[in-house]
């Protein structure tokens, strides 16, 4: 019997990205998330008789931007198709989709897997409308339907079967999520369903050129679930293969409590969707000028931004990559360095205290009121030796969050937060600290040099954090070696 490691896992992904437009794909309903059920709807999204769809321009621009960023071929003659199926979350009885003629073809996304870089080829990117939301668990006899999501603009991004492990799938979705956020076309929020993923998995013996029968696991709404679904489904398929069981082409769901999958339907009884060109929407053509104009609007690629940060400001790889991957933090950083030239400190503050606060409080930068100039002032005061980083980040920064217009210099005075710079005062503190640890001094002198941090810590404590630890360290060494 073949062992698990004799098998190769082949994975293709379909990601649905909900676009950051103001209105839906074919009508003026708001796309705002989290409103009351059925309050973001219109006669079009509810499919009242006699209503007609009209295409949102912005969706085309966003699709082209993603296509250009993924090196795709942009298809210039476009039309939509009707995908017919009967399900209550779709009041028209069909979904309008570019299933047959995607706006972007081919292309690839380069992803980092461990230390290796791998090109994942795309098959296509196409536009389609989302369906409403069915709530099956609210009542025992009825399914409740909320149509706020019906008609939301989606891009479906489909890869070739180029992925070979859960880790690669994880890396791909992470990279794609970063890219759509970077382009400003999707917020990438998987929890709210702005990014959802279907996984196609098959297994074959290593070296076998023929692909195995694929199974699709649908509606995975976190990167972790994608990984779990691939792990559990590939093990199930390998097990079936080893036992010589026939693998059916199936659509499956993930049980989120134990990460097993269950069959939703089998290909044989798959619906016949009867696609045909959507008669309610005229075709649309994309001109070369439009593509060129969008190309100019595109933000620089993340890797280019990162390299610029490294060369222009001397930032380290990690700091540069943190900033390059987040437009909002990057512009905050850029605003700080309009005021000061200590780039390293500006980067540290941005990806340190600022980012940590935003992450903990789950805020976006728009909701963050501390002006970059205030952070610049803190850095300037630290560099001048008036305060240290500990006091700035732990005492003054929280105060700034509460009162963004705080007069920092007055605040420092009023609360006596200045560093103790008087040499005699520092000497006094050091003497007190050393007296307290007379025993340890002998040990230190015998060679236990690690005790130095204990002495420094004691001085910091005595001073209430208001001395420069660097000066204290130097002075203690000097004193103990005397």
């Amino acid at each position: 019997m073949s062992e698990t490691q004799d098998y190769e896992i082949v994975i293709g992904l379909e990601v649905h990205a909900q676009l950051l437009t103001r209105s839906k794909l074919f009508c003026g309903d708001s796309t705002f998330f989290g409103k009351d059920a059925n309050s973001q709807v219109s006669v079009v999204s509810l499919a009242h008789p006699g209503t007609l769809p009209k295409m949102n321009k912005e969706v085309i621009s966003m699709a082209i931007k993603l296509g250009l960023a993924c090196n795709c071929e942009i298809v210039q003659h476009n039309y939509f198709a009707r995908k017919n199926y009967f399900y209550p979350d779709l009041p028209k009885g069909y979904q309008i989709s570019q299933h047959t003629t995607p706006i972007c073809k081919k292309g690839y996304l380069e992803v980092q897997v461990g230390k290796e870089s791998k090109k994942i080829r795309l098959n296509r990117i196409h536009m389609e409308e989302d369906a409403g939301k069915s709530l099956h668990d609210k009542e025992s006899n009825y399914t409740n339907i909320d149509y706020n999501r019906a008609g939301m603009p989606l891009l479906e991004i489909v890869t070739e079967p180029d992925l070979r492990s859960a880790e690669e799938a994880f890396a791909y979705v992470t990279a794609l999520r970063k890219l759509v956020r970077h382009l400003g076309i999707c917020d990438g929020n998987m929890e709210q369903g702005s990014l959802r993923c279907d996984v196609n998995v098959s297994v074959r013996k290593k070296g076998d050129p023929k692909l195995g029968t694929k199974v699709e696991v649908k509606n995975l709404n976190s990167i972790r679930f994608i990984k779990k679904a691939i792990e559990s489904e590939s093990m199930r398929l390998i097990g079936m293969h080893q036992r010589g069981e026939a693998i059916l082409q199936q659509t499956r769901g993930l049980n989120e409590s134990d990460f097993t999958t269950y069959a939703i339907r089998t290909k044989e009884d798959e619906d016949d969707y009867r696609y045909f060109p959507e008669p309610d929407l005229p075709p649309f053509f994309i001109t070369d000028e439009m593509i060129e104009a969008l190309r100019k609007e595109m933000p620089k690629p993340v890797t280019a931004i990162k390299e610029e940060l490294k060369t222009a400001y001397g930032l380290q790889e990690y700091d540069a990559s943190q900033l390059a991957n987040d437009n909002e933090l990057l512009s905050y950083f850029e605003n700080i360095i309009k005021e000061i030239k200590n780039y390293k400190a500006a980067a540290n503050w941005t990806i340190g205290p600022v980012k940590n606060y935003l992450t903990t409080e789950e805020l976006s930068i728009d909701e963050f009121k501390v002006p970059p100039a205030a952070v610049a002032t803190l850095i300037r005061l630290i560099d001048a030796g008036s305060i240290n980083f500990g006091i700035a980040s732990q005492k003054i920064f929280p105060e700034l969050i509460q009162h963004p217009s705080l007069d920092i210099v007055s605040y420092i005075k009023e609360n006596s937060l200045e560093l103790e710079t008087s040499g005699s005062q520092i000497d006094l503190l050091i003497q007190t600290a050393l007296n307290k640890h007379a025993q340890k001094i002998t040990e230190y002198k015998k060679g236990k040099k690690g005790l130095l941090s204990l002495f420094v810590g004691e001085v910091m404590k005595l001073s209430g954090g208001k001395v420069d630890p660097k000066i204290v360290t130097e002075k203690i060494i000097e004193k103990l070696n005397a």
């Binding site: 437009t21 309050s39 209550p88 009825y142 269950y262 060109p277 005229p282």
Partner: protein
């Protein structure tokens, strides 16, 4: 295309309609005529002719990305045969996994 009971069963399922035996026979007869009509059309040589996708010559009918013409929640639900103050209600549609 073979017009037989299997085809009628498939069409019933896709259209979510039920037919009695007499109706099925009637539909079969109609279908044979319809398919014959289309088969006749297929005799025309259309090679080299682009398919006509849309009757109107107006292409690129696009709109600006603006929020407008929404209904209120109350208006949206008003005409539904079954609803509460928030949701449309339909018969249970999912088979729960075991």
């Amino acid at each position: 295309m073979q017009v037989d009971d299997a085809l009628i069963a498939k069409l019933s399922r896709l259209s979510m309609l039920d037919f009695n035996e007499a109706e099925k026979e009637e539909i079969k007869a109609d279908l044979v005529k319809m398919i014959g009509f289309v088969d006749k059309l297929k005799e025309l040589d259309t090679s080299g002719i682009d398919p006509l996708l849309h009757m109107s010559g107006n292409n690129n009918m696009l709109r600006e990305d603006e929020v407008k013409n929404m209904l209120t929640q109350e208006e949206a639900l008003r005409n539904a045969p079954l609803h509460d103050s928030q949701f449309f209600k339909v018969p249970k549609v999912i088979k729960k996994p075991d």
